[in-house]
Symmetry: C2
Subunit: 324 residues, 2 copies
């Protein structure tokens, strides 16, 4: 069986690690393969190096190298390079890059500079992290460089800042007026992305940010049509619990696009292709679009086991819908 | 007063740190300024980053950040990035780059990528290391990317390898047939280089490798003519003691160009502009070209004090020749 998932960073990565754990623990599903389509709208060039935060969080989390406390970056990392860059007066300093993490960015930048596509580079990084041994293929949503920018107004009229600056430096505390995905107009889905959706047995939307993670992937030409057209059930997991994001700033993102911070409103963003929607017990009364099957259960991923249970529930919902 | 020096890496850097120490200790010379013209033939692009080993050794040594035991690289450096690059299977692994050191290369590469010249980049790095407070200006010999390659034959016919591969990986143990400076045919001296030679009160040649350090600088168009034409005495310090290099592989380099490994033969390489030649006591009988004043003294730089004494002796020889 084959599962395809559209994922952002920390929340998606933890959910998907839960999924692979669930699959490994479930004998009749143990040979299931998973293709992850990762958001690249967060990508940023820092110090001349190409950084892909969501792809890296997926690689590190699934490969066992992530900093568990942060949810991103490498475990037990050091900051010698960044300290030296600070001594050289190099900006920005608000984006923390550990030394081990920089090994990834240096290799990626070198390979991209040699003319390899982001897909090819990501496959090489996935080899280092043993993803194929876990039945996982990680694809960037597109090989075209795209960057989510945020239009804000912090007093001197509207201006656009890189998503990372808004998210990390400003902590999403300055209201976003809108999001602009620079480069998306010339983007095409990366090799394998549309087929992975069309040929999946189940498509999952992990509890990633519906606007700046899943929403960005949905903006890649062909992706939304593939979701509408696939024979597979498309099951989403709400990123909200009792009307609040479990992590990150989904509320600030939803506000910017004029959507309520409720599991019902998020499901509405996916109404044209969603077939199953998993919400927290506290949101059991969520109104879902016509044709969508709702289930509820505790959605807090406190640890690997709870993540595995949530992912298992989402997958089972998909399998149930498939049988109909 | 103004001193200009042509320098390679470790030996030159230690000599020049001795010089600035000597100047600081000598009241009537304390306001002397020093311009160093650094060899860039050793430069190499590793992992997509531009590395300038001789310039960095000069910066770190004069700025107090060098690994004293090695003579190059940063003190107390770590290797997290290189370890990660090894895990990613990135080659080469024979060139050791510490994490702090990589901060330099990342910043340099970024600034070069933004269109700044190597001179401008080097000036920014020199600011970080406080060189101007020490009266020192560091100039790359050229802003044109050049790279010394070495023609070797290790069994399958002649082939050219980068100087660093010959020097570091092969430890100069495979005979060099010749040196080729790729890019030199279109190189021009960096801003200030020729003027620094023409307008100097004394020009010094530290005990750097006469072939692959000083010899490469002499190949930059205009440099040799400037040395021939300057009014300043040009005083060299032999890199050999009793017919052997103190450090490095000067013997292998001299052999490649058909020159004996003697202080007399090295002086002969500089015969068209040299006016003073400082050799070790054990080479007191060195035959020097006509018009060159010979002096001898112990030339082993065991520590900062001995380096300061040697540099002071070279400078005093220059001042004596200037008075004539």
């Amino acid at each position: 069986m084959h599962v395809t998932a559209l994922s952002g960073g920390v929340g998606g990565a933890r959910f998907l690690r839960g999924l692979t754990t669930y699959l490994a623990r479930t004998p009749d599903l143990a040979d299931t393969t998973v293709t992850i389509i990762g958001n690249t709208g967060d990508d940023i060039t820092l110090f001349g190096l190409r950084v892909c935060p969501d792809l890296d969080t997926l690689l590190y989390t699934l490969g066992g190298g992530v900093h568990e406390g942060q949810g991103w970056g490498r475990a037990a990392d050091t900051t010698a390079v960044q300290t030296e860059l600070a001594a050289l007066g190099v900006q920005p300093q608000w984006f923390g890059l550990g030394d081990r993490d920089l090994g990834t960015h240096i290799a990626r930048s070198m390979w991209l500079g040699q003319g390899q596509s982001l897909s090819q580079v990501t496959a090489r990084l996935a080899t280092r992290w043993g993803l194929s041994e876990r039945g996982v293929t990680l694809l960037p949503m597109t090989d075209t460089p795209v960057e989510t920018h945020v239009v804000i107004d912090d007093g001197e009229g509207p201006r656009a800042v890189h998503f990372q600056e808004w998210w990390v430096r400003l902590r999403a505390a300055v209201p976003a007026q809108r999001f602009v995905v620079v480069g998306m107009e010339r983007a095409t889905a990366a090799p394998g992305v549309l087929d992975a959706i069309r040929r999946a047995d189940v498509v999952l939307l992990p509890p990633s940010n519906p606007v700046v993670s899943v929403g960005i992937i949905l903006g890649v030409p062909g992706v939304r049509d593939a979701l509408r057209g696939t024979q597979a059930p498309v099951v989403g997991v709400s990123p909200l619990v009792a009307g609040r994001p479990v992590r990150g700033h989904a509320d600030a993102c939803l506000q910017a696009i004029g959507v309520e911070t409720t599991s019902a409103a998020v499901a509405g963003l996916y109404a044209d292709f969603l077939t199953g929607w998993l919400v927290d017990d506290r949101d059991a009364d969520t109104q879902v679009p016509a044709g969508v099957t709702l289930r509820h259960r505790p959605l807090l991923m406190r640890d690997l086991d709870s993540a595995a249970e949530i992912a298992g529930e989402a997958l089972r919902l998909g399998l149930d819908l498939r049988r109909r």
